[in-house]
């Protein structure tokens, strides 16, 4: 029982980060109707950049965060203006492929600037273990989970209770209607990319802090969170968080109990098995819209 609870809570902690990354993807899908396959490399880029600012440039955390925000804003405007705007009106495949191509470019830049094995963050969070009854939780994982939840609450407030959030929701409904209603849709696209990149970078930094800043590992983690996006429903922000925690629990529980039977590595594919199962039995996820097509 203790083992079960231990796995359960570790899974929830992991699920928080899944949720954070998935919400970034969902926001970009909702706002711009583009599924961002470059999210993994964006997360890795954010993590490496933060590491570079902290360790190589010797900045303190506050200043690094400011630089990260400026970087995310520039990147978002650039991506929206030069890469994604020519893709408006193009077939679905083109938008998917262009994000994959952008992801490759980021991956190349990371490999060029920070070659070799992964990097380790300096101690930016207090380490130690935290005991709840018989369960031991790592303080870093707990703080990461708290950061995810706080970030998501802030984001939810922004989305539901501010003018820019209203504009984003309007854009998510219908681009042309929003444009007619006086919302500058291209600017909303850039804002969506900005928030998406920020959430991705936060996710990347948290993963990097818990394990190691390593591009393939971070990118793979984000690929796993695609399962979360599909499970929660492509357009649902709340769904992404719930599904994130669920997939995180499933991954840790499945890996914990089944790994000894099959020889390890199950945690790497459980989200993909979930993804395939969801696609087969409930393709639009928990809260996604069921699309009705008319010819």
């Amino acid at each position: 029982m203790t083992l079960f609870l231990q796995f359960l809570f570790s899974g929830i902690m992991l699920g928080g980060i899944y949720g954070l990354i998935a919400v970034g993807i969902v926001l970009i899908v909702k706002g711009t109707k583009v599924f961002n396959f470059a999210h993994g490399d964006l997360a890795a880029l954010g993590a490496y950049l933060f590491w570079g600012l902290l360790v190589q440039a010797q900045l303190n955390i506050g200043l690094s965060v400011v630089v990260m925000l400026i970087f995310a804003a520039i990147l978002a405007v650039f991506l929206e203006r030069f890469i994604l705007r020519p893709m408006i009106g193009q077939p679905l495949l083109s938008t998917i492929m262009v994000t994959i191509g952008v992801g490759q470019i980021f991956a190349g830049i990371i490999t060029l600037l920070w070659p070799g094995p992964g990097r380790t963050f300096p101690h930016i969070m207090p380490s130690g273990t935290f005991h709840v009854g018989p369960i031991a939780l790592s303080l870093e994982a707990l703080i990461s989970f708290a950061i995810c939840i706080v970030a998501l609450i802030c984001f939810y407030f922004l989305f539901q209770h501010t003018n820019i959030g209203l504009a984003m929701r309007g854009t998510a409904e219908d681009h042309q209607l929003a444009q007619s209603g006086g919302i500058q849709v291209t600017r909303i696209f850039a804002v969506c990319w900005f928030i998406g990149i920020m959430l991705a970078s936060m996710g990347g930094i948290l993963i990097g802090n818990l394990h190691q800043v390593d591009r393939p590992a971070v990118a793979h983690f984000v690929l796993k969170s695609f399962a979360v996006v599909i499970f929660g429903g492509l357009e649902s922000i709340v769904g992404a968080l719930i599904a994130g925690i669920f997939v995180g629990m499933l991954e840790i529980l499945g890996a914990g109990y089944l790994d000894p039977l099959v020889g390890g590595g199950l945690g790497e594919i459980i989200p993909f098995v979930v993804l395939l199962t969801i696609l087969l039995i409930k393709p639009y996820g928990l809260f996604g819209y069921k699309r009705i097509e008319r010819v």
Partner: protein
């Protein structure tokens, strides 16, 4: 497609549907075959031959993806793993059951097609982006299965694979492999062209252009999507068998996730829904890759601080940049360029 010199008319249906229509076409075909099968392999060194061998194997695999992506409009993010499955089927039957390489070919073709069919099943209810997701999942699940296959798949060590034999004659040098692979490529292109021109190709195009309209017209969309998955995987399987015997061993590490993106890049750069475009795409991107491998170390020696990673990172950057640039500036790919050049040559010296 149907541009011909002035005054050439078809007087029978057979003439109307044939591929090679004019004497000039036949001359070009013969010239190309002579270059392809006689001149090049006799003149080329081992290095050039090995590059061509890899190129031809990649073209065979990409032809399969072109059916799925270019003709049928289903995005596959896991094509590389079907190549691996083909190679592993060959490897397993040769190592554990003592089959000859030739005997494993049909097994590899059928086996890979069945695996592809299975991972195409979500297309019953889904399309577009969701198919990309299911093929992405299939990649990681199949890699895990291969990795944990124990003695059957050799686990992380992979499987050694013997060279193919014709009677007691071993195919082992680069030149001998060139003839083997070139023969398979010619066959693959011929079959692909036939499928694409025939009923099946038309059905795939109908599904790609509008699946609902296709359904209304009486096409069993799900069934034909599965057939597209099967054909695509079967091509990958053959390419995998050739790949395995060419390298002499097979391991899942030969098929990293980036390969899936390379395959998509070949199809996009070449032009979706075109056989000749596929060949152009593979040549363009692969040769660009080899160019980077030659230029990279030079840049590395000029800038020693980044020397260690310059080739791998430049490969990624070039691949991504080429895909993005083609999607933005030339979405119809090299095939479209080729058609423009060809038609302007045919009506030369007039401008239209």
């Amino acid at each position: 497609m149907s541009r011909r010199p002035c005054g050439t008319f078809d007087v029978s249906y057979e003439k109307d549907i044939c591929v090679f229509r004019t004497p000039f076409h036949w001359i070009m075909l013969v010239v190309l075959l002579v270059l392809y099968l006689i001149v090049f392999p006799l003149l080329a060194e081992d290095g050039a031959l090995s590059i061509m061998n890899m190129l031809y194997i990649t073209i065979i695999a990409t032809l399969g993806l072109n059916f799925l992506l270019g003709y049928c409009g289903q995005i596959s993010l896991g094509h590389a793993i079907f190549v691996a499955v083909g190679g592993y089927i060959t490897g397993i039957f040769m190592t554990h059951f003592g089959f000859s390489w030739w005997a494993t070919l049909p097994l590899s073709l059928i086996g890979t097609a069945i695996v592809g069919l299975f991972f195409g099943l979500p297309s019953l209810r889904l399309k577009g982006f969701y198919i990309a997701m299911s093929t992405l999942a299939s990649y990681f699940i199949l890699v895990w299965i291969i990795m944990h296959g124990g003695a059957v798949t050799g686990g992380i060590n992979g499987l050694p694979i013997d060279v193919p034999m014709i009677g007691s004659y071993e195919i082992c040098s680069q030149r001998q492999f060139y003839y083997l692979i070139a023969a398979f490529l010619a066959l693959a292109v011929f079959v692909a062209k036939s499928i694409a021109r025939g009923r099946l190709g038309r059905i795939f195009i109908a599904i790609r252009d509008d699946d609902l309209a296709a359904e209304v017209m009486g096409i069993n969309v799900f069934g034909y999507k599965l057939i597209a998955f099967a054909i695509s995987s079967a091509y990958a399987g053959i390419a995998g068998s050739l790949f395995a015997t060419y390298w002499g061993f097979i391991s899942f590490e030969q098929f990293p996730f980036t390969d899936n993106i390379w395959y998509l890049g070949y199809v996009i750069v070449g032009g979706m829904g075109s056989i000749v475009g596929t060949i152009f795409g593979v040549f363009f991107l692969k040769l660009l890759g080899y160019f980077v491998m030659i230029v990279g170390p030079m840049i590395g020696s000029a800038l020693p601080s980044i020397a260690g990673s310059v080739v791998s990172s430049m490969l990624l950057i070039f691949n991504g940049a080429v895909i993005v640039a083609f999607l933005i500036f030339e979405p119809r790919g090299l095939h479209h360029r080729w058609e423009t050049i060809r038609s302007s040559m045919q009506i030369w010296p007039f401008t239209y």
